[in-house]
Amino acid sequence: MKPSYSTKIVLFAYGILAIIFLYLPLLSVSFASISRARYLTFPIKAYSFKWYTKAFESDTVTDLVIISLKVASIVTIVSMVLGFFGALAFARYNWRFRHLFQKVILLPIFFPQAVLGLALLIWFNSLGVIPTWKTAIISHLVWISPITTLIIAIRAYSFDSSLEEAARDMGASTFTIFREVTLPLLMPGVISAGLFSFLLSWGNFPLSLFTTGADLTMPEWLYAKMISGYSPLVPTVGMLSISVSLFVIVFAFAVAHLVRMIKQARI
């Protein structure tokens, strides 16, 4: 039974509505960031980019960007490595504890992040470690490397293991097989996992809140200003954070497109 034409139209409209629902708040933030007034009311009376100039001149904002970037970059690299090996154990090999392993990996994703952040804070305290942005990297990894594992695992499921066997039959060592066969085959998964982990770490708030100590990431600073001591820079810094994410996404898509074109040109 095929859906009727009118049903399709209704569902299509529903889909568009869902997208509007997702992006409406960001529209408000973007308008607020270019409003001249210190305290915002709609309709906006005068527009200006002065808050952006202020943000770029501010040392606080520079520090926020640097710390957020440092955390996200290191999390990306480490979680790509952890996720690559994790995915092999998750999907590629049949071993005795595989099903148990799959469930263990899912646990941190099914866990409230704020409570995880607090638990880690207490743990670091018990170990005598003072929380800084470095401990935030660890807390992000606990949540993000299971996610990268899942993403790479999707790729690893369609893995043709006879390719590895062929390489082995021809005398390749385990390490050579990893480097020449396994890694290139899983590469698309590894790269999209890296993209996810950068963006998720960049925007993460509940884990950072409790594990960065005196250092602040962008989402944390925004939250602090939202609940007390509002600053007109909040929408601007929010927009800056969004712009970086967008830039990374567009860049990644452009590179992916370029690679595909080069590959096609070769054939």
């Binding site: 299509f12 889909g15 869902a18 997208i19 629902f21 997702l22 409406l24 708040p25 960001l26 933030v29 607020a32 915002l40 009311t41 709609f42 309709p43 952890l82 090996f85 092999l88 154990a89 999907a91 590629r92 090999y93 049949n94 071993w95 504890f97 099903h99 899912l106 646990l107 941190p108 099914f110 866990f111 409230p112 704020a114 409570v115 995880l116 638990a119 880690l120 207490i122 743990w123 018990s126 606990v142 299971p146 899942l150 999707i154 499921y157 369609s158 066997e165 925007g203 708030f205 509940p206 962008m218 989402p219 925004l222 939250y223 939202m226 929408p235 929010g238 954070s241 969004i242 994410s245």
Partner: protein, 285 residues
């Protein structure tokens, strides 16, 4: 050769398992030990007295727990009803549009949740996008729509939308078209097909989606704080207060344990019923 593969499997699993052991399992154990320490203790070696757990029942913490569960439950139900038609259309009806919605939803996930909630604050407050423009063009304003219970549920629905949508879509994609068709041919009504064919066949996706939304919403903090003001105190709020301003780690730990136990019961019950290989799209061999 098979033995070599097994050895590689154990070695590949090791790094992430060690990470989770040291920074996921161990912290939770420490929380478990703190929860039975005497009040305001900062040591793990004091005489355990379980006083924090009795405190939960004396002071108003059960009320926060109740609110957390009510908010999580209502947002999960609403999410399921909202997402089902869209997930259905994405899995079965749309072609290119599925990709567009998928990208739009995933990209929205990368914006920090507090920025998006702040955006709703600007949209819904008095003088915000909706009220401000309405008053400007019609002359009639209204008090902002913020700081009440429905708006917290709205915030939860908004933030956890993707966590329901994608698993549902995945589940619905597992419904074989032939089976539906056969049921219709045998004279089943639409309602019967939904109840007897579609819901049971999509069950793995439904289980994962509802679990994920419920669990995450039960531990959520920012929605009630940013959109709800202080109308309702949720359990995660109490936990944060106990650890930070309260400086009472045993109490915070006991409250965390309460939340963890509830979530773990639900999650373990749900995850054990689902075959992960099937959901992730592994071909059956």
């Amino acid at each position: 050769m098979d033995r070599l593969n097994k050895r590689i499997a154990y070695l590949s699993a090791a790094p992430i398992l060690i990470l989770l052991l040291v920074f996921f399992v161990a912290p939770l154990l420490v929380i478990g030990i703190y929860s039975i320490m005497p009040q305001k203790s900062f040591s793990l070696l004091a005489m355990p007295d379980f006083s924090s757990y009795s405190l939960i029942f004396v002071e108003g913490y059960l009320k926060s727990l109740f609110w957390s569960l009510v908010l999580a439950f209502s947002s999960t139900v609403i999410l399921f009803l909202l997402c089902w038609p869209l997930a259905y259309a994405m899995a079965k009806i749309f072609n290119r549009f599925t990709l567009i919605i998928t990208i739009a939803v995933v990209v929205s996930l990368f914006v920090s949740e507090n920025i998006r909630l702040f955006g709703w604050l600007l949209t819904l407050m008095k003088g915000g996008l909706i009220e401000g423009l309405l008053r400007h063009y019609t002359g009639n304003g209204f008090e902002g729509a913020l700081y009440n219970v429905p708006i917290i549920i709205f915030g939860l629905v908004y933030v956890y939308f993707p966590f329901m949508l994608f698993p549902l879509m995945q589940g619905i994609a597992m419904i074989a078209e032939d089976t539906r068709q056969a049921a219709f041919d045998l004279g089943a009504t639409r309602w019967q097909v939904l109840r007897e064919i579609e819901l049971p066949l999509a069950a793995p996706g439904i289980v994962v989606g509802t679990l994920l939304s419920f669990v995450l919403a039960a531990g959520a903090l920012a929605e009630s704080k940013l959109l709800g003001g202080q109308t309702v105190i949720v359990l995660a709020d109490d936990i944060e207060t106990a650890f930070t301003y309260g400086q009472n780690w045993p109490l915070g730990s006991a409250l965390s344990m309460l939340l963890i136990m509830i979530i773990a019961t639900i999650a373990v019950f749900g995850i054990s019923r689902v075959d992960i290989d099937t959901i992730m799209g592994r071909k059956r061999s």
